[in-house]
Amino acid sequence: MSFELQASLQARNFEMSLSLTDHETVAILGPNGAGKSTLLAVIAGLLRPDSGSARIAGRQLFNLDAGTRHWDAPHLRGTALLAQEALLFPHLSVVDNVAFGPRSAGAPKAAARETAQRWLAEVDALQLADRKPAQLSGGQAQRVAVARALAAEPELLLLDEPMAALDIHAAPLLRRVLKRVLKDRKAIIVTHDVLDAYMLADRVVVVENGRIVEEGPTRQVLERPRSHFAAGLAGLNLVGGTLGQEGITTPDGRVFAGQHDPDWSPVPGQAGVAAFPPSSVSVFLGDVHGSPRNSYAVTITDLEPHGDQIRVRASAGTDGTLSADITPAASADLGLAPGMEVRFVVKSALVSVYPA
């Protein structure tokens, strides 16, 4: 009953393989243009890759390998797509929108409406049944769109940033609804929001430049990120290098000392990363007295408010960007401004080191 996909599309620099076990919800995270929507379009049958194959529960969706040209049209796939915008059919009432899937599957009108009512109740939208889509708020419309997708009884539900177009008041309700209906259901949800990944997904897949760069259980990826994108989502600084006894050594020779995972013995020479929260970084002017461990010269690029702290972003040469969180008072005392050269000192007790 599982889902498997392997596909490549040269024109979009896209090459991914992905599988889902039964009842599993996977979140696809990644920057804009990383290929997240391409992935969903390929699965739904709206975009044809150059090569690859996919199957759900042993049923072939497409197979373009080894000379075969098997390609199921979207309506044969059982992969309902929920987009950023609800895209409710404007000429149909809410209940007829939801009944669209069952009707297309051949259900009689009355039975389809009954099914629609059931799914509207499931998303707390039964009272909207007789309205036209133009009379709904964004959040209501998106809940109805969820009901419409589920009423089609898809084998695999595809969600393309379903919360992105909603205002902050409507998103929590839809998120609760999704959490309830996605339980025990195969679904792929493309999102920008780490909260969606936490709440809705069993596993996250991070994509960049059309490739999968990292995947694993949601908690593990966010606590032990290996890609800069995941580290950014988890709010961590990430530095890559070679593992040593003390920590990692970056390509330009800096040493980030830190704590190894206790249930893992490092192999020196292996590629690794050091991750640490911005709160573990202190900012100093000029030379640092005392232990020079984990002290790095950086150039400040930006200062911005972050909760009740000031987030100092700085460029650390080839290691990319590092962030430090300091109090507004400390920032004023030091007279920090973009362009200044300062030293970042990282408490090694708060640096996690693990293989990349």
């Binding site: 739904a44 309506h75 987009a83 059919f89 149909l92 669209f100 297309s104």
Partner: protein, 269 residues
């Protein structure tokens, strides 16, 4: 989209030129109105030959509008949604009657369906004669009116986009179901305005009809042909019948404009 500033940026002299343009259209209509023989108006437009021409015009225009819908909807769909070699060429040819002198269209039709024409010979052998019949009137009108429906509907299809259709397909709807339940309802205002325009064009058709169908009273002499004929002998009758056509045209433009204004709203919601 309305601006909220109240600034328009249109130089005043533009209004003067625009007024001249407006007058060019309105003044001749007004001049014609002044020439109408009002006491005789009703008798003039209800004379036997007038009623025959009016009835024939309405019947043939209705028939050609139906034919335009039947042939034009698939054409517009293929042009707006399809992808195939020669698509641009096909669009150019479909739109050709818009710019072609109707009399040329009539000659082309004659060499297709006439007795010695491309298809006419075979049709003649099968006992079917098209040229100089009411069928010829309908064909001539369809030939000139079809582009109006195709252009209007293709525009509506393009602005509606195919995202609703993609969603419908992922919900399990077969292509024919998507067409019937999603695509056509979404572009209904565009289809309606296209049909109205086609009807109006059919009603006013003269050159192709005269060339391909001739001018037989009650069979192929439509209202514009009748007006042209009457002008020689009875100017009052010609003016009165012209007024009838103007009234129909005004109604049609009003209908079509109203329909077009509703299109974007229906698509956005």
């Amino acid at each position: 989209m309305k601006t909220t500033t109240g600034y328009h940026g249109v130089p005043r002299w533009i209004y003067a030129v625009a007024a001249a343009g407006g007058l060019l259209v309105v003044l001749p209509l007004a001049a014609m109105l002044l020439r109408v023989n009002w006491p005789q108006f009703i008798p003039l437009i209800t004379s036997e030959s007038s009623l025959a021409a009016l009835g024939l015009s309405l019947r043939t225009s209705a028939a050609s509008t139906v034919l335009c819908i039947v042939l034009g909807v698939p054409l517009a769909l293929v042009l707006a949604r399809g992808e195939f070699p020669g698509q641009k060429l096909l669009r150019s040819f479909v739109l050709l009657p818009l710019v072609l002198p109707p009399v040329v269209g009539g000659i082309a039709l004659l060499y297709t369906f006439g007795r010695q024409g491309l298809l006419g010979k075979s049709l003649e052998a099968a006992g079917i004669q098209i040229a100089f019949s009411t069928t010829a009137v309908v064909l001539a009108q369809t030939f000139v009116a079809l582009p109006f429906l195709v252009v209007s509907l293709e525009g509506a299809l393009r602005s509606a986009g195919n995202r609703y259709e993609a969603v419908a397909a992922t919900l399990g709807a077969k292509p024919t179901t998507v067409l019937r339940r999603v695509t056509l309802p979404l572009v209904l205002p565009g289809l309606a305005s296209g049909a109205v325009l086609s009807f109006a064009r059919s009603l006013g058709e003269f050159g192709a009809t005269l060339t391909f169908a001739g001018s037989l009273e009650g069979v192929t002499r439509t209202l514009p042909l009748e007006i042209y004929l009457q002008r020689e002998t009875d100017a009052d009758a010609a003016v009165a019948l012209s007024l009838v056509l103007v009234a129909v045209a005004v109604a049609v433009v009003g209908l079509s404009y109203g329909g077009r204004r509703r299109t974007p709203a229906a698509v956005q919601s």
